[in-house]
Structure formats: structure tokens, C-alpha cells
Homo-oligomer: 337 residues x 4
């Protein structure tokens, strides 16, 4: 941490900062510039409150040097984290495919989808039982009945299951069925929920909030990691911008940036990013070309009958084409599907 | 709802849409234009899923006509909602002041603040017991001990209390102490929590998410209202933009826009919006000039010792000046303090 | 400027940076931390290219300490700049009103507006002759004929004139008629135009780009100032965000923030910010309460016949009400109108 | 265009809108709904001003049906536009590579780069002679001397040249040397410049403004097309968002979205998007996987000595690796390099 003094700060103001640095158990290094004095704070700054210096007389600003995450960082854990899910390794050379409907709607819809995906080589089935919806008048998911259907799909097809928990009290229930617990974008900073999934110990798919920076995503992961659960997978699913042709803006740069800063696997969800099935396949190709460890994609046997997110769901036949196109790109970047 | 057909849509495609409109229990009105046909869907569109039309052959786009909120709208409830809080009317001619520290830190800090605010004519004391923090390494609040201190401050000074619940299971505990339950910005779309505060029945201060549109804020309010709790107060506290000189961007337009579309009272929180105490007072004046029903402001007896948000907290003497400046503006817009 | 070395940077890498600091004519100050070494660069960093350090081996990041603007800063010129415009002082205790139509449409529209505004005590008439329009199919302004009409309005009513120049070659023509040359939001970083108005020497109204930071606005002002023209007035007119109920988001915080960092006067344009006349008056009150030095507002005798921006233009009678409401707020903050 | 009446609009208000529709030469179609009446405006709405209806009594809102661009649309010109540049076809099966330094700095830098790129199979050389810079204190480019050096590089290596014009009066000069005139992101809505390059008739590389929607980009292209110049290539180079780890956010979705809506070729510039050379290659791969027609990439023989944009410039050897990686991805999506 660096404390930048105002130009013309008085000697006693500078001394005041140095004294507080020492009180807090750090050491201070002064650099006296032409216009300003800057004071380096030597020590692990992570738990320190910036405003303790920023509000002192004579201080212009405070600059952090260290990134605020630790367990999630490459400095702490240089090798890629690989999360084994029911025989599939997430974060290794294979690009992992998660697919399925936005919401579990009924037995027929789910089984038709699950069998078809199994045959196409998909590894993990997604499907929402508890659905966070902007409107209280929209379909809110089947709840526990949805979990039962997912358990049935798993038993029949052998696909692993990822589904969302919306509140701490749902976590145990979800963990009974799911191989991976999803924390949705709107709950990325639901710290009570992060605490609960951290303690539950199941693998977690943590989706980036639509208005969260990558740093905040990594801090949310840090919550889970710091509760002892290291099996965290990140997922970029589009951020909110001023552009309106797409539902969100896929931040494709998140792939190389996150892979540089963290050891955790990175997924891309092109369905929520675009909100339009027509653009899902090109973005799925792009995600793999950029180095993503996996894709999570919404499919539906009859998108025009879907109770939610129909517009962004691929038909099963179109998803089969996506798989082939993505396979070619995966090979071009020396990965497998 | 209006379904816009592609230019050159075939007659059977148009008929297909008309048939589905009828199946869903609506009536269809056709307008045949030079380039396109448009189909008006006659009936209450709120529960209908856009994609049920958007994905049909020949359809270019679907436009909603009605705003998606109902109970929160002026159409439904033309008069201003007035929420009585312990003798103070929120949403009436008086501008209501909420002030207090970001977090309850200890007995001394809270009582010193509470007594001073009481004397300045503040109506409601704020103070966090459960604190949502970006970092797991930051101060997370005193929890239940914080609630006890708030109860004590209330008993001693007679100030009403607003404090945050972060998870559904905390709501009953918070309701024992608080006159108003706060739903924080990061939880604005925590639908399990909205459900819980809707059922608890206590007045709710609902803060706009930093990433939420006004429509989403009103839909979050709709969740609470639709669970039978009509005593909801909205609060704009800055949205996330590309600007970096301020912590967030105060969306001052939210005051007249929300007041036009909804009957619920609207507060402004200039402390979180700017992140810097130096800019809080001018924005507090602006908020009242724009027509806000109340202000919520962070104060601390010793901001440079604060365990959170010190940089944006006003010292007590500076807050006293704010009160006088805001009083003059309130009079200029024919309101009282 | 501070150069932060990577944790574990080698001694020769540190020395490499120190050597380059010296080569460039600065002095280097080392702070050796527990995790990292940081190197303070002592001297005026403004002309230095960050990447000259950032790309060196062992460097993690480079942090600028000084704000990049100089002539526009309060450090350089602590007193408020006051710009005299035809007998009115902009930037002093009086809040200055600029009003008029978006575009000059014809003689009758302009004169009716000008006479009415004169009578209400408005100081400066706005009206576009050259109009930047998103679509090539929209009305592009009357061009030179528009300038002639503005000259006539000035001669008849004595109002000062502000109008926009869109390209360097239009500046001399505009300067013949205008008391203030406007640089529009879309041209805020049209550096050729900034150069031209800097050299022309007429007072400049510089509008913030809808996606420009305050720092970029101040750097655009710096272009004009550095060409010898110190009579620059800044104008916040709404920035682009994800919110869609308003056309743009008025960044009201820009008033106190800019007033702290620069000596230049600050205007607010609530018409472009909201895009809706119904919200202009409350935001005009808010702007003055926040400390703005002036307002620029679109009015039209018949908004529903306006060739551009009708939706955000106030009728003359409604503008008269705005003037009275703003007058009361100005008095509450110890200013006059 | 559709005019939505307020719920409870009076019959004479509805008639008023119908009358104005007819006055303007359109036909009106009424749909009487349960809550509202909507009026379809039949005819080409593009030149009509929305506010002419929106401000009428009883009107709630006005919805446009047609996209506002015409010449740039696929409806108007279904086939892909192919722009021949000195023997290379842009917009066909081959992915076209543009590379070179941000700015032309001196003869040696430019020639070293040009010869190396020629050998790697690059088709077009970029290099700025006139440089738009945020700060008046930064290097502003060599101006005409830069153009001379570009002409020399072209004569020696046979590479085609793309370079930027910043103002209308520079266009003729730039056209003498350049095979493609670039309109930079900050000038995307410099309508005087768009007019000038439209009339000049040379191929144009139009960069998306960092604050511009795709629709605005297409409207900017429409300006050039409507002045008779059809050889326009679009370029996405990152938009401004709240994310700070990258300089801008690459809007990769722009590739499939633009390719669907327009016939013009689409380039991606990953250098400006990220601001960091380390992330350029993965994004270049992603761009080609998504379907981009070309890439424009900053390279420099010695990035740490570059006078501008060094941090995002690739060294020549690293660019050679990029070419090979991109070639593999191009083949995977059935294109060549």
C-alpha cells in the first residue's frame, strides 16, 4: 500500500502517517518527490482499511499494490486446479460441456434432453429447480420436485448434475442431488450463500454477476475457498453494458485474464450472454479458441414452448452441430472435447 | 404485446402467430404495413413469455407495451404511499433523515452517534449488524451483539432503527429490533430474502442494486408487495458506470422518474454513491431539490478510525452543517425537515 | 509515478528499472517491501509513457500519482475562473441560464423563443445551426442560414449567443456570430476541433462526451487551454449507462467533483440528460442545489412540431415555471439568478 | 412505428394521433386492447420524428419497428460486400491481417516492421501519422512526414496501407498514400469527417466508438454509404464498461450480430480492446473462431521504446506465433489466412 501525500503536505502531517503505519504494525518507507512525498507501507496490506490513511490530514490518496485475493491467486497456487466430477476432469486438457434446459419443466422434457445430450458426448447436465426470476409473476421453478427429476435423469443416463441453490437453507437439499452446486449471477455477492456452499464442500460453479468486475468474482471465490472448499469453477456469462442488441455483453477477455490471475477453471456461458440462440454457436467457438475450460449452454427440445429463456435455448439438432464445430476449434488449440 | 413479423413473412407464418395468440386466450389484431405485418396481442400480457412468439417462424421481434410491475405502479395506486415509522410519516411533506454509522462497532461509538443525531433532529438511526463485505478478510459486523446495541440505542434515545438482513433466516431476529428492515444493494435480487421480508410485514428499505435498472428495482419491490407487505421504501444509492472519480454514479434522475411511475417513497443515499464525504453534502442538497422523500447518510464520530466506509462518513459536526443546508433547500421546494 | 516490481523480481531487473528512471532524467527511490519492491519516480511524470516501465522485465504495474491535467487544475489556478459574456459573469455568484431550441428551424420559431426568454431573464440564447445527428436521414440544421438568424436574434433582443461548431473549418464562421462556441458531446475528443477553438480565442462551452470520464473532460479542456484560450466552461449532459428509462444518466456528482479539481465553471444540461421534458425541472433544481454555475436547457414554442429533440424541450410557459423554482433553490444555496 | 396510447386515453386524443398520421402521409391502423389502444403507422418511418407523436395528448410511448439503417442492412443488400484492396479480397473466405505500429515513429522502426510483416504473410500495414491522443502532452504523430514514410514502406514492400484521417481537411492528403482511410473510434460520430470520407471514395475502415452501440456504428457507416462510398469495413475494438482489468471490453458478440444485420466486412482489433499484449493472441484466435473477416493488430519491434501504446503491442516474434495460431483456428472454421 502506498500513501500519496498532498503537494505541500506539512512535515507533521507526513509524520502522522508514518506514526500510524508503525502503530498498525507495518514499516514505512518515504520517497520525497519534487511535488509530493509518497509513503510505502511495508507488510501484508490485505486486512488494512484504506480510509484509515486516506482521511488523515495531508493525504491525497492511497494506492493498493497487492491484489486483494490470495487463495484464488496464481501466486498462492501456481498450478491449474483440476476438479474431478464423476470421472471427468474439469480444468485439464479436455474442454468440458455442460448443457441442458434453463429450468426443469417436467419429466418428459428433462429425459428427452438428457438422453440426447448423453449421446452427443456431453459430460454434465444442467437444469434449474429453484429459479431466480426478475418478476414474481414468472415461472419460479419446480423446487424439490425438480431436484427429484434431476436425480432420476442422473440415475438413468449417468450424466453428472449441476443445479442452482438460491439460499443457504437450500444448499443441503441441492447437495443431495447435485454433483456441482451453482451460485447464480444474481447471488455472486450473496455472502451468506457463499459461506454455505463453502462449508458444504461440494464442487461449486460460481457465475460472475452481470455487473461484477473480475476482481469481485475472484473475491467471491475467495469467500468459498476461505471456508475450506477449493473445488470452485468460475463462469463468465455476460456483463451489463449500454449495448442493447445483445442481452448482455460476453466479456471474452475474462478467459485469458482470469487464467493468468487464478488457478481455477473458467467456463463460458454464451446463452445468457447473448440472449439469442442464433449467436450462441459462434460465441461457443470463440470461447474455446480463447482458452475456456468448459462451456455451459442452454438447450431445449422445443424452445418455443420453454417456460423460461426459450429465446436463447438451442434445439437439440442445432446443439449437435455446435458440438462438432466446437470440437474442430478445440483441436486447433490443442485440446479435446 | 406486439408481434412484429419479418418483411416478407408468409401468410401461414402470420396465421401461425394468430393461432397461438388465440390458444393463449388473447385476441389478435392485425396491421398490414408496407414492409411488415404487426400483430397486436390484446389482453394482460404480464404473465406471457415473449419467446413463445419470438421463436416462431416469420417473427422479427416482440415488443412489450405494459410495464411489468403492477402493485408498485401509479396506475394501480395513484396516491403516494405514506409509511408511518414510530411517529414519523415517510412519503409525506416532511423530508425524513436517516443517519448513523456504516457498521455498529461498539457501544461507545453507537451511543455517541445516536445522542448527537437525536439532538440534530434526525428521525431514524442506521447501523449495520450484519455486513455484506466484498472481501472475506474485512470486518463482517458484530452480528447479534450489534442488534443488541441497536436495541439499547433505541431504548435510550427513542430513535427508530433501520438495519440490514442479509439472509432469510436473519429476518426474524432483525425484526425484533428494527423498525425498518433494510435489503442491501447486493441483495436487491435475492428473491428468497425478498420473499422473507415480504412475509415478515415490517417496513422495508429496499436499496437499488448498483447494477439494477429502475424497472428491476420496481420488480424487486413487486416481490415484497406481492407477498402482502405494502410498506416498502425505495433507495437510490449510486449505480456502477465507467466513471472512476466517484465510487458509484448517483442516478439523481431516479427521483423524478420513480416518483412518476410508483407511489412508493424514494430515498437517496449520497454516501455510498460518492464514496467520499467531501461530496455528500452537495448531493444531499441536490436530492432534496429533486424531490426525494428522505436521505440516508453515513456519519461517524471518528471516520478515520471507522472499521468500514470511513472515507464516505461525515463527522458529526459536518453532518450538523448538512442538516442546516438541507433544511434551506427543503423549504425552497415547499417541504419541511 | 510508482513502478511496482513483481514479487520475486531479480536484483538486475530492479536495477534495470532504476537505470531507465535515471536515463529519462528522473531520480529513483526504492522501497523494499515484504512481498515486493516499489520504485518511486521523482520528477514531473506527465510527459512520460507508462509502458516504458510497464514492459520491462520484472515489472508488475505502474501507478500514476499526479492527475494528468495541469492548466485546468486547482493546483495551477486556485481561484474560480470567471468568464465575462456580454455583461454577464459566468462562474461567479450568479447562476447563469442558457436556453433555446435544439436547432434553429426558422425565423418565427427563433424570434418567438428569444423574446420570451429575454423577458424571463435568461442571459444567453442557444440554438444549433450545424447539427450532429446520429442518422443521415434526420434534419441536419440550417447551416449558415441558421447563423444569420442567430445574429438577427442577438441584434433584436440583446441576448448573447451560444452555438455549436462541428468541424475546424466552421469555427471562424461560428465565431463571427457566437459569443460562446459550443463543442458538442460527440466532439469532445475531436482534437482538431479543440485545437481550432483553442486558437480562435472565443469563450468555449465544452460538453462532456456521453462516455467520457471527468478526467477525459478535463484533458479535453486542457487541449483548449494549452492553445492559449482560458475561457472554457464545462458542461455535464448525462453519461451513457445501462439504465433505459432515461436517455442518459445525469452525473450530478460531476458538479462537486469538478468544482474541487478545476477552476473552470460547470454547467448542467438536464434536457439531454433525461431526454424527457417532464424530468427537466426537478433536475434543474438539483443541479443548482449541487452548486452548478449555470444551466443549459432546451425550450421550444411548440415541442410537438420540433424538428429535433422535441421530447426533451420545455414549452415556454413551463420554462417560466422552471425559472421561478430554480430561483428559490439558488437563494437557498446563497446564489442569485 | 407504433403509437401506444395511455390507458384511458380519450377518443379525441386517439383521433388526434390518427389525424397526424394521415397529415404526414401515412396510414393508421387501430388495435383496441383491454387496457390500451395502439395505433400502427403504416409507411416508411425512417425519416419521421418520434416526438411528433410522443408529445401528443394521450400518448404513452412510441415504438420504432424498422431498424434505422437501410443501405448498410442485409435487407437492402443480402450478399456479403467484398472490398478488393490491392489484390486482397476483404470480406471473402480469406481472413485478412492488418498489422503494424500504433504510430509511425521513424524510418527504421517502420521499415523493420514492414519487411518482417511482409515475410509473415500480412496483407496490409497499419501505422498512424496523425494521432488522436487524450493528452495534449503526448506524442501527436509525425503528420505529413509519417505519410511519406508510409508511402516509402508501400513502395519497398508492396504492402497496402491503412492510416487514419482525423479531420476533413486531412482526407485528401491521406488518400494520396493510403489504400484504406481509417476513421478512428473517437471520430466515429464526427459527421463532417464521415461526409468527407464518403465523398473521397477510398475504402474506409470505420472503428466502433468505445461508447457506441452497434446500431450507432451502422448509422455511422450509413453516413459514408449515403455519400456514395460503399467500400466500408467495420471494426470492433472494445467498448467502455465498468471492468478495469482490461483497457476496454472486447464485444466479441459484435461479430455474429453485425454479420447478421449488415453485409459489410467486420474486423476485430484485440490490441486496443485489451490494452495488454499478453491477451492479444487468445482474443485474436477467438475473433477468427467467431467469424471475423479480419484482424488489426499492433506490433512494434521494441514495444518498451514505443512512443505510444507500447503495452499492447506485440513483439515481431510473438506476432509470428499469433499468425500460426490464428491460421489453425481459421482452418477449423473453414477459412484461410
Amino acid at each position: 500500500m502506498i500513501v500519496v501525500m498532498k503537494s505541500g503536505a506539512a512535515p507533521h502531517e507526513i509524520q502522522g502517517v508514518v506514526d500510524r503505519v508503525n502503530e498498525l504494525g507495518f514499516r514505512a518507507h518515504l520517497s520525497v518527490g519534487e511535488e509530493r512525498t509518497i509513503i510505502g507501507v511495508i507488510g501484508d496490506e490485505r486486512p488494512v482499511n484504506e480510509s484509515m490513511f486516506r482521511l488523515m490530514d495531508g493525504v491525497e490518496k492511497v494506492v493498493r499494490i497487492l491484489k486483494p485475493f490470495k487463495l484464488a491467486s496464481r501466486d498462492f497456487h501456481p498450478q491449474d486446479t483440476v476438479v474431478p466430477i464423476d470421472g471427468v476432469s474439469v480444468g485439464g486438457p479436455r474442454v468440458v460441456l455442460i448443457a441442458g434446459p434453463c429450468a426443469v419443466e417436467d419429466r418428459e422434457q428433462l429425459m428427452e434432453t438428457a438422453y440426447a445430450l448423453k449421446e452427443m458426448g456431453v459430460h454434465i447436465l444442467r437444469g434449474g429447480a429453484f429459479k431466480p426470476r426478475t418478476s414474481p409473476y414468472s415461472f419460479q421453478g419446480l423446487g424439490e420436485r425438480g431436484l427429484e427429476l434431476l436425480a432420476e435423469a442422473k440415475a438413468e443416463t449417468g450424466l453428472a448434475i449441476v443445479t442452482e441453490a438460491m439460499a443457504p437453507q437450500q444448499v443441503p437439499l441441492v447437495c443431495e442431488v447435485a454433483d456441482i452446486v451453482q451460485v447464480g449471477a444474481r447471488n455472486m455477492q450473496n455472502f451468506s450463500l457463499l459461506h454455505a456452499v463453502g462449508e458444504a464442500g461440494k464442487p461449486v460453479l460460481l457465475k460472475r454477476g452481470m455487473m461484477a468486475t473480475m476482481e469481485e468474482l475472484l473475491m467471491a471465490a475467495e469467500y468459498v475457498l476461505s471456508h475450506g472448499n477449493y473445488r470452485v469453477m468460475l463462469c463468465e456469462r455476460g456483463i451489463r453494458t449500454f449495448e442493447t442488441y445483445t442481452r448482455n455483453t460476453l466479456d471474452i477477455s475474462a478467459v485469458p485474464v482470469l487464467k493468468q490471475f487464478t488457478h481455477l477453471p473458467v467456463f463460458i456461458d454464451p446463452s445468457h450472454a447473448t440472449g439469442n440462440w442464433e449467436w450462441v454457436t459462434p460465441l461457443a467457438r470463440a470461447a474455446v479458441a480463447a482458452g475456456a475450460d468448459g462451456l455451459i449452454i442452454e438447450v431445449h427440445p422445443h424452445p418455443d414452448k420453454a417456460l423460461s429463456d426459450g429465446a436463447q435455448s438451442l434445439r437439440l439438432d442445432r446443439f449437435a452441430e455446435l458440438v462438432e464445430e466446437v470440437r474442430a476449434v478445440a483441436q486447433a488449440v490443442h485440446r479435446t472435447l
